[in-house]
Symmetry: C2
Subunit: 317 residues, 2 copies
């Protein structure tokens, strides 16, 4: 029997559970709604069902599980009161170990994605890169010399909470003007509303409430030539590019790898983003960095999480 592990990616919206082999290949996958606003026990019931399905009711026996989740602390195995979750702090590794009878390791979701990309994805063989996930929020990880940067207390990588604008948007973290309030699906929608308030441009977007719009709608309108939608992507790319120019000045990575739903916007986002990066770099840093986009069909956080429990020797193909 093939040796397999569970790779689990707990996201704010959906959770994916994969059966992963030692080469990072995902043999089976199940997805369910995380329902982060519901009690944690309900999530555990859903997780149990999903695992039963992919293990054919226990016929397949994964030897361990790796879990990527927001607020995960690798040292303690706990989720530390993740933002936008109503679970509070949870002994995730301990609870899962008891329930499923296998060893469990947890890691921050952004780091799981970066590990997956480095071992099996777009960042294969890269030693110095920054991974950015543009989803509902903005997740990020830094890899230097082939290793995840953890920081002194395991708290490195919070690019989303760098202040990028004065006295502007409230962030869910309690601060003002964080990058995440601009460069994320949610940030894009906020930018739409800022532009609607500021400009007189005609736009289909004037017909929707704040509750109604989402980044997919803005993208579709941009494709139909809606100027305000195009402008919203441009502003998003510009603000993100300014910050990334700073990160490049600081760390001189060989690549920045983007993942997450917002990357579907393609050139509406990446053209202004790359222009803004180049504009804000020192001459010596220009053209030193590759802009990579993750394969949207594959959730590398699943295989990245599973890679935590496989021996990592010889894993770099």
């Amino acid at each position: 029997m093939i040796k397999t592990a569970l790779g689990i990616d707990i996201g704010g919206t959906n959770t994916e559970v994969g059966l992963v082999d030692k080469n990072g290949k995902c043999l089976q996958i199940q997805r369910f709604s995380t329902a982060a606003d519901r009690p944690f026990v309900e999530f555990m019931a859903q997780l149990e069902k999903a695992i039963a399905l992919i293990t054919h009711n226990g016929e397949i026996k994964p030897f361990a599980a790796g879990v990527g989740a927001p607020g995960a602390n690798s040292e303690t195995g706990r989720l530390e009161d993740p933002e936008n979750f109503s679970w509070g702090s949870v002994e995730l590794a301990g609870i899962m170990q008891k329930k499923f009878g296998i060893p469990v390791k947890v890691i921050n979701d952004a780091k799981a994605a970066a590990l997956g990309e480095m071992k099996y994805g777009q960042a294969l063989n890269l030693k110095n890169f920054v991974q950015i996930t543009l989803g509902t929020g903005l997740g990020s990880s830094i890899i230097i010399d082939g290793k995840l940067v953890e920081g002194h207390d395991g708290l490195a990588g919070e690019l989303g909470h760098i202040k990028v604008r004065e006295s502007t948007r409230q962030c869910s973290c309690g601060k003002i003007g964080c990058l995440e309030t601009y460069a994320s699906a949610n940030g894009l929608c906020r930018t739409v509303f800022e532009l609607l308030s500021r400009n007189k441009t005609d736009s289909k977007l004037r017909e929707y409430s704040y509750e109604q719009i989402n980044s997919q709608m803005v993208f579709e309108l941009a494709q139909n030539g809606d100027e305000l939608a195009i402008e919203a992507f441009k502003y998003t790319g510009t603000v993100l590019g300014e910050t990334l120019a700073g990160v490049i000045s600081l760390l001189n990575p060989q690549a920045i790898l983007f993942a997450g739903g917002l990357t579907s916007a393609g050139n509406y986002l990446f053209e202004p983003l790359i222009q803004s990066i180049e504009k804000n770099l020192l001459n010596m840093h220009k053209d030193t960095v590759d802009i990579l986009i993750s394969d949207q069909r594959i959730n590398y956080a699943v295989s990245g999480a599973a890679s935590l429990v496989f021996n990592t020797n010889g894993k770099h193909k």
Copy 2:
């Protein structure tokens, strides 16, 4: 005879040449004016004299030399057209090797300082820290897991050229709004002039031209209670603190170590700086970082440069 090496720190204003033992102790030191606006051959003549003096005309025989200098490329041994120098690009290691008949290694000056601090100074035993030199400009280095972060092309660490303000101050690098145009001796003087233009506050500083003022004068006036001078330090600390909060979010270092002339300003600078850092951090990052100030009497770039040529094993005391 004690095994010694030359440790040389080439600064925009002065150059220091030290005779350094394997423990980083500086047995002799000579200082001369770099005269960066004069031809490189004149600098070499001065350097030759200084070396003759500390080696007692060749009686003492250092086995090698390590040099810290702006724009130094460790791979090629060249200075790459350093800013504010009229030398253009110079094959420094090769020229010195030929002239003095000993092996020569070069390194960026900010990195030499960080190496010195890590091996012999305030950062002894620290594995994750950021070193910032507030001199005429702003130099910086990053240490992660006990190693200098070089970046993919050896260009990491340019904190001074992160954009911190929109459409404001021209930087010598050609960009606008770089941190260095605010957080440096020169940036402080520019802030004084901005405040003089903006506020009506009485100040002795209204009596001096832009050519006449320097950071030392601003410090002395602050000590005498000059409100505008105090305000200039406050603004400098605030802008620097905002950027450092971003660096802490990204890298989660255990300490930030400040060196350079501007640190003499003490609490005029560090009180607003620390307040600004704390204000802009995520709660989880608060109180995670130590603020350290280098010993102003010792130029750690000299011993840091020398440490390049000593075998580094067992050098961490």
